[in-house]
Amino acid sequence: MSVDSIPLGEVRSPSRVLALLRQGKSAAVWLCLVAVAASALYPIFFLFSTALRTKADYEASPGGFPQALTTDHVSEAFSAVHFGSYALNSLLVVVPAVAIIAVLSSLASYALIHFNFPLRKGALVLVVLLMAVPPAVILIPIFKVILDAGLLNDRLGLILVYAALNLPFSIYLLASFMKAVPSELLNAAKIDGAGALRTLWSVVLPLVRPGLLTLLTLNFLFLWNEFLYSLVLLQTEGNRTIMVGIAQLQGRFAKDYGLISAGLLLSMIPPLLIFVFFQRDLARGLTAGAVK
């Protein structure tokens, strides 16, 4: 039996006043939920309408329904501000970084869960400890390492940093899925003559596909949305990523809300696709570790 069928709110005395009060209370709760949900969805409406309406129309009723439409802001976003190339710059960093994370965390979590070697426990503890290091704390030493390696303002530098920062969490996440793979299967593969890499590729990875999907969507989302490291490690106009481009718009186009909204919407396309199509995978990753 699920908890939902337990009438926790049941009124014991058959008083009408109490029953009315209870109905009023649940209506109030429901209205609160509607209000919060409206605030959560409003950005979509607001940004779409602001991006597609004229400036004068916006100023007449900033939050309301558009009356006079225009596509000027959207075309400006590509001509005057180069949002297209910012988005491309982001992809050129995020996609390789996510690929590196997927390969390295598959290898590492497979080794950590299914092989025995000296210091295995120590390596697991280290992964958990590194998960607890806040990125801001190591910003300056990482800046120095990248500077000394000649990789400042080079996409490769940010790609490697992104991969390293998200690797501990990704190994941890994938390891929790690897644990569920029975070792009998691995032994069977070994008896059939498959090597470690072959076993990982054809036996283990197909079995942890939901975990891999979670890992890919979560890392893509984190890195696409990341700001601090991107701001510090890629400082030239030519390789600026989309989040930095947006944050710096305000200075140059401070009152051009139509243009800013068009840019925001463009930057929201990948997150929105993930929101619509991969919500379940994302949710699985975000609650990993909360409930044992």
């Binding site: 709760v29 959560a40 969805l41 009723s61 800046f143 700001f227 510090v232 944050a247």
Partner: protein, 279 residues
Amino acid sequence: MLLLLPAAALLGWLMVYPTGEAIHLSFTNWDGFSPPHSIGLENFSDLLHDKRFKEALLHNLAFVASMPIWVGLPYGIAWALHRKVFGWKFFRFAFFLPVVLSPVVIGVYYMIVLRPNGPLNSALESVGLGFLAAEWLNDPSIALPTVIAIIIWATMGIGVLIFLSGLSSLDTEQIDAARVDGASPWQIQRHVIFWQMLPVIEFWAILIVILSFTALFPLIYTLTYGRNDTSVVDFFLYQEAFTAGNLGYASAVGVVMLIVIGVVGGGVLGLLRIRRRGA
């Protein structure tokens, strides 16, 4: 183990070494150009007397102090969704949207919505609540609470998810037993469900402490740029390092930040545990 080598090399180079180097640099006067020179504890003693740093740290603590709302709101929502209120599937979908948005997007969006003659104030005026209109981000007395409200709004969806997954694994036998014994809904909530949910609440509380110290930079950068009494330590760290060029000093800020997170996180867990013993 050969399979571990690539991950170990990358983590060693860009995680383990930088963590040690963060501590090393915090004892230097590195400016980004000349080689760092050790200056002992000078950065730390300067920090103790740096008014801007202390203010920023207090602001972070204000975020931590908002924890009751930060926990209560998603818990309440999760409870309602768990009881399958009308439209719960739609609500679960809607509350998740802010979770996928970049803090930069959220910051710029609210920067527009909260402008003095922006959508929120004009909406308040058009429904006759004009007296509630305010300079949300420009008035130093309400700018910080406004930013706190924004981050609670932005992270609420994660909290709802975490609490929902906790509620779905409640031990229903205990709840049934309490009900048979005549416990009121509030007593059941307080004495049965709360204890079962405590590990999940602790997890969320620790996440809030970490968010309160390390996730604010993009919001502050886009909403106020640290003006109007809203500076926080990660913003202060960035400014010291990359606009003032005091990278050694900023490293010390990072080290202190790590210590404070540990102390505050431990304190919060301690408080929750005391409640456990008291009951």
